[in-house]
């Protein structure tokens, strides 16, 4: 007779290997192709500008600005980092620039990038909006002084 195979899923990863495993138990918000686009956009805009662009996607609570600034302060080197905090459930995006990053990225430029991002988000294109917004922000910030990129 057939009977239901009663097996529980288990993870055979050890303490060493478990953090490297990407195939089990992780929330796949984006496909690999989208992750590659996000990764390239974040990495290249950070390298070109010398600023540190990070991207948070998740809930921001009732006070979105305060939460985003907390996150920005928690990341490494807050003065030079730019945080894009996106809460798709609340339909809110907050861009937080650190003290020295704000000199190269004025609020007006951030608002323009936010506008283009929200335009893409409202049509359901999260990744495309993020990539274009990062491109706009890094174009505005330009190269750091004294950096030889070419």
């Amino acid at each position: 007779m057939t009977r239901v195979l009663d097996a529980e899923p288990h993870d055979s990863g050890t303490d060493v290997t478990a953090p490297n495993r990407a195939d089990e138990g992780y929330d796949t918000i984006f496909s690999y192709r989208e992750l590659a686009r996000l990764d390239e956009a974040l990495t290249m805009s950070s390298r070109e500008t010398g600023l540190r662009f990070t991207l948070y996607i998740g809930d921001l609570g009732p006070k979105t600005r305060i939460r985003a600034e907390e996150l920005h302060a928690r990341g490494g080197d807050p003065a030079d980092s730019v945080l894009l905090a996106i809460s798709p459930g609340q339909r809110v995006i907050e861009v937080v620039t650190g003290a020295s990053a704000a000199r190269r990225l004025p609020d007006r430029a951030c608002a323009l990038a936010v506008l283009s991002m929200t335009n893409s988000f409202s049509s359901g294109d999260l990744v495309g909006g993020i990539v274009n917004g990062l491109r706009q922000l890094s174009d505005q910030a330009g190269h750091p002084r004294g950096a030889r990129t070419h």
Binding site: S45, L55, G58, D59, V96, D107, A111
Partner: protein
């Protein structure tokens, strides 16, 4: 060319092409989409994620070039370039204040000076400074 051949070539063959592309487009079981399809307005009940740029790895540039010797000050050794950027931006504020002293209001100039000096002290003091280095900028948007 008989009538049957004519029909086959001019009617059945184009129809076959159309049907093939229709089937490839609309029949299910094609490429499966990974990830979520975001629609504005749907609830977002996923774990928060935080993406960072990839660290500039050590073999990419020479070891002595703008590299801090403080081992363990950062996980990735990325703070060397950033702290040297602090010095450059500190110089930049001097230029900016001298340039914008004639144009813009004095309050913004003063705030940028304060931010510049704070950034310089944060760069001279080794170790990551958890305190925010000045006024934060940014923008907010909804959709």
């Amino acid at each position: 060319m008989t009538v049957v051949e004519t029909l086959l070539v001019f009617v059945v063959a184009p129809l076959a092409v159309y049907v093939l592309f229709w089937a490839l487009t609309y029949l299910p079981g094609g490429r499966k989409r990974q990830g979520v399809v975001y629609k504005p307005g749907q609830p977002w009940d996923h774990e928060p994620v935080w993406y960072e740029p990839q660290p500039r790895n050590a073999p990419a540039h020479a070891a002595g070039e703008g590299d801090t010797q403080a081992v363990g000050s950062s996980l990735y050794g990325e703070t060397a370039s950033i702290s040297s950027g602090h010095g450059a931006s500190g110089d930049g504020t001097g230029v900016l204040t001298s340039g914008s002293g004639s144009g813009s209001g004095s309050s913004t100039v003063g705030s940028s000076v304060i931010a510049g000096t704070r950034g310089a002290t944060a760069a001279s003091a080794d170790g990551p400074a958890p305190a925010p280095g000045g006024p934060l900028g940014g923008a907010r948007g909804t959709w």
